[in-house]
Subunit: 208 residues, 2 copies
DNA sequence: GTCTATAAATCGATAGAC
DNA sequence: GTCTATCGATTTATAGAC
């Protein structure tokens, strides 16, 4: 009868079930969106009954909210790791590499956030104007410092970051379109080709 | 009793009602997606009753399908207009201008297509692998021709087009995030800044 | 904790009067 | 064509036995 949902202490088995539900929810929500997905689908994907899923979480919305929150940190980690200590161009190209890798290896997470933001990000609370803005402002200042020091060509750092986000995430979020346009053969190497293209573009652009 | 939905002949009043429904549907579907939106919301936004909306179209899915189809042509027009006859860099920069303008003036259309493709584009039929692929291949060949003639730096034309799509549409699809990160002041000029940034990036990249 | 059963709400669609 | 009334399906959530 004890609620497993939000209490602090949880058994190992409870954590495993919660993790299975998270995994299933990521599958279903990233493919159909919050409203398009049903609890039944999440439960089936997790190998549990619908009522059992409700037992571990309090409802569909809570699964979705906790899922988003649990992925947020991992999602912005690559930008967080961009360091003022490294070589300017290296740091930026490494960031691009990691973002392309994430589009390749974590397309579900990318689509989950994309759908959420596309619909106005009502469940991301005020994380965007606070935490994310602070992080981006911080990194933009580093990049601006590099430009002021003549190590990179002068460009708007915020829009530079936007351009990297958009170009890299495009290959996860709109994968169907990318593959349709490229055709089966060229789709096989789309991530490598994209990474090379974006890096090439940025090298030419950022060379002082 | 005559069905107004799919017959060929329609009165002026019928067309006006249908147009009002389209306009309302674009509002609601672009904000909440197909499943997230209800007929009631569309009807209210159109100033009609739910049953009346059903009378003009046969159901929610049909409104959505016809809406997508009616917007498709307008959506790809800028790329269609990219001409082999013009100056290479001019043609590409003009394309960027028009795409940024569309993000500014038609954000609902952008988000509608984005949501559809994000969820696997089930309702876009096989337009992607046929019509869109043909169009992109055609324009990519033109760009490749310019590169072969030494008028542009050599780059993968398909990924170049993807990069323009992603960078420009980013400002419509993820507008909430863009404004959150930029803050109120800098958001005021986000489209002008974005256009200048993207053009600057492409000029430096495409200069032979 | 997990199950069966079912309540409660939402929503798309239809019937039929006018 | 537009209205009132309502059906039927889906889906979330809860109650209670074990």
């Amino acid at each position: 009868m004890a609620r497993a949902g939000t209490t602090a202490r949880k058994t190992r088995n409870q954590m495993e079930k919660r993790q299975a539900i998270f995994e299933a929810a990521l599958d279903v929500f990233s493919e159909k969106g919050l409203r398009g997905a049903t609890l039944e689908q999440v439960a089936k994907a997790a190998g549990l009954s619908k009522q059992n899923v409700v037992y571990y979480f309090n409802g569909k919305d809570q699964i979705y909210a906790e899922l988003l929150e649990s992925l947020l940190q991992k999602w912005v980690q690559p930008l967080h790791d961009l360091s003022a200590e490294g070589d300017p161009l290296d740091e930026i190209l490494t960031y691009v590499s990691r973002k392309v890798q994430m589009s390749r290896n974590m397309p579900r997470e990318s689509r989950l956030f994309a759908t959420e933001i596309l619909h106005g990000a009502p469940r991301l609370g005020d994380v965007l104007p606070t935490d994310l803005k602070t992080l981006v402002d911080d990194k933009a200042a580093i990049i601006q410092g590099w430009m002021d020091a003549g190590k990179l060509a002068p460009l708007d750092p915020h829009h530079l970051i936007f351009s990297i986000w958009s170009m890299t995430q495009h290959y996860a979020d709109f994968d169907v379109q990318v593959r349709s346009v490229l055709g089966p053969e060229r789709s096989a190497t789309r991530f490598e080709d994209a990474e090379a293209f974006i890096k090439d573009m940025l090298i030419r652009t950022l060379q002082p």
